[in-house]
């Protein structure tokens, strides 16, 4: 039996979804309202065209937002709650894009002898030219990606495919973004004589690039340093005891690149994989809650002593053996099978000096 466990509905998710849906509804209404007044230049677009534009641009803005959440949360932990329910945002984006596609199909691709879906593929096939490139096909590609991602977004697929494969598939969202960008650049932008759409696209791309660069730089530090090998095999030198603060995790990278989180809890040290069994969230950036490692992304929990989620849950992560060498923490880079019990290493009195936390005066 596949033992997947959905991140269940709760109040936070309901509020999150309500805000997102309200924002989308407002966006479409505002667009229709002001778009109908855009007659100062020639004639105003008809309602069908307004719908196409409203839903299309809304989907693009949402997509830009989704892609910003990851780096934002990396840069400022207060954005983590936005990450918590990001998948619902993905499904919402796909729904809005479906609204765009439906309004395009029922207008530009309707009223002919060809069924709309067939017309979509035969009406414009100018792919061998740059000016007048068949931009619609780029939109179709993006929409297919969004559909696949929305369809596989449920935790069932996550458990079925495993977090690594699932994550790899979901990286295609960047491909979807690139395709939509081309869809707009070769389509609507060619006709527009106002720079607003171009500015919006440029801002979106620039924001994403800058956020990802900043987050990448920060991440390179937080993902931990490579641990050098110790004098005796197979041990590696993880860190000094003093570097790990009470109640927190410390991340090191093993020689093979695998990240490990070492936690300090009531004078004892334990090491587990840094990758959450749910979506590979960074456990070392989590907290100890009720003595359990708590993932910063969706709150999955693992016991320090064996890497198992407390009952009734069944997730397990790999544990690692630790050893002290004076003030240094040594780690055996060979992972124990997920869920293996390892006794915590007790920090001797001499090294128990707690690291003080800054607090408000």
């Amino acid at each position: 039996m596949s033992s997947y466990k959905a991140v269940t509905w709760n109040r936070n998710k309901l509020i999150y979804d309500a805000v997102a849906i309200a924002a989308v509804v407002l966006y479409i209404q505002v667009y229709r309202h002001f778009g109908a007044m855009a007659g100062r230049d020639g004639i105003a677009p008809d309602d069908a065209t307004l719908s196409m534009k409203a839903f299309g641009s809304c989907a693009f803005v949402l997509l830009s937002g989704i892609l910003s959440i990851g780096p934002l949360a990396r840069l400022d932990r207060r954005f983590l709650p936005l990450l918590y329910n990001r998948r619902h945002l993905g499904v919402l984006t796909c729904t809005v894009a479906a609204g765009h596609v439906a309004s395009v199909l029922s207008w530009y691709f309707a009223y002919s002898d060809l069924p709309p879906l067939r017309a979509l593929l035969v009406a414009d096939t100018s792919v061998a030219q740059l000016a007048g490139f068949a931009f619609v096909i780029l939109g179709v590609g993006a929409f297919v990606i969004l559909l696949v991602l929305a369809a596989t977004s449920h935790d069932f697929w996550l458990a079925f495919l495993g977090p690594r494969v699932w994550k790899a598939i979901h990286m295609a969202v960047y491909g979807a973004y690139a395709l939509v960008f081309g869809h707009i650049a070769f389509g609507a932008l060619q006709d527009a004589r106002s720079p607003a759409l171009a500015i919006m696209c440029a801002l979106s791309a620039a924001t994403l690039v800058v956020l990802h660069l900043l987050a990448g730089r920060k991440g390179a530090v937080e993902d931990g340093q490579f641990a050098p090998t110790a004098a005796t095999t197979p041990w590696v030198v993880a860190c000094d005891i003093g570097e790990i603060r009470e109640g927190r995790g410390f991340v090191v990278k093993l020689p093979d690149g695998e990240p490990v989180a070492i936690f300090r809890h009531e004078g004892r040290l334990s090491a587990v994989s840094n990758l959450c069994a749910h979506q590979n969230g960074p456990l070392g950036e989590g907290r100890l809650v009720d003595g359990c490692i708590t993932c910063p992304w969706h709150g999955f929990q693992y016991r320090l002593e064996d890497g198992c989620s407390p009952p009734p849950f069944t997730e397990r992560i790999s544990t690692y053996r630790l050893m002290l060498d004076g003030g240094r923490v040594l780690l055996d880079p060979r992972p124990n099978p997920p869920g293996t019990r390892v006794s915590a290493v007790v920090i001797p009195q001499a090294h128990q000096t707690p690291v003080n936390e800054t607090s408000a005066p």
Binding site: I28, T49, A54, Y84, S112, A123, S194, A196
Partner: protein, 256 residues
């Protein structure tokens, strides 16, 4: 480094610290207001691609149901040259199409060259008249067709303009021109709606031309990739009534 100690968020837990709650409320307000602002700016900045095509004063007229009489021509596309009445002078050209993205349903062999009465919705934009037939043309037996007016050659021209379908171009869709509308226009042309060439610079006062291949036949699908954008072309030009037709060497179409 600031640690936002109080802000560790656990999705399934409902106790969120006051500080984080405030932050999230502000973020939500920012997102909602921000989206509205982006939406309004984008919507207000929509431009009509037909404006650069037809010029500032070429908003389409309100479509009207009309009955017209004239001589029917079927090559390269069905069109009517009016016989002249109180509303229109004789020899005024009106393009014909069917509903949706369909050609006018006409028995070309039987009706070509006959004087007919046609009914339908007249789309009009500038000098471009497009009648969407609501019923089949009726031959007027009591009016003898005059000898078919011979085409008047106007020489060879090199012109620049946009090929669009004469129906959306006449304003039934807004916008009905441009790249965004390209696939739609292509479907119209595939369906047999007459294409028109809207000129960037008028040719002897004409803003739009009927367009055929160099043999005077309907354009084939090879030109679809040139639809909806500015293209340069060359061809023999001739006048039929007040309609001007260009017979382009389709092999020499060039995107600008």
């Amino acid at each position: 480094m600031s640690e936002h100690n109080d802000t560790f968020f656990i999705g399934w837990s409902n106790d969120i610290s006051a500080g984080l709650r405030r932050f999230l409320m502000r973020a939500a307000a920012f997102v909602v207001v921000g989206l509205c602002v982006v939406s309004a700016l984008l919507a207000l900045s929509i431009t009509d691609p037909a404006r650069s095509l037809f010029g500032a004063n070429a908003a389409p007229d309100i479509p009207l149901d009309v009955t017209l009489r004239g001589v029917l021509s079927s090559e390269p596309y069905p069109f009517l040259l009016t016989v002249g009445d109180a509303a229109r002078p004789a020899g005024h050209g009106v393009l014909l199409s069917g509903d949706g993205k369909h050609a006018a349903v006409i028995d070309r062999a039987a009706l070509g060259g006959q004087v007919v009465e046609v009914k339908g919705l007249l789309l009009k934009r500038g000098a471009l008249d497009m009648l969407v037939l609501s019923e089949s043309p009726r031959v007027l037996q009591n009016i003898q067709p005059a000898a078919p007016a011979a085409p008047v050659p106007m020489g060879r021209w090199r012109v620049v303009g946009e090929i669009c379908d004469g129906k959306c171009g006449a304003g039934i869709m807004s916008p009905g021109t441009g790249i965004a509308h390209k696939a739609c226009a292509s479907l119209c042309l595939i369906g047999g709606v007459p294409p028109v060439l809207v000129l960037t610079h008028p040719l002897e006062g004409r803003q739009f031309l009927m367009i055929a291949d160099s043999q005077g036949r309907a354009l084939d699908r090879g030109v679809l990739r040139f639809v909806g954008m500015r293209v340069a072309m060359e061809g023999e030009v001739e006048r039929r009534g007040d309609v001007v037709l260009i017979k382009v060497d389709t092999g020499k179409l060039r995107r600008l």
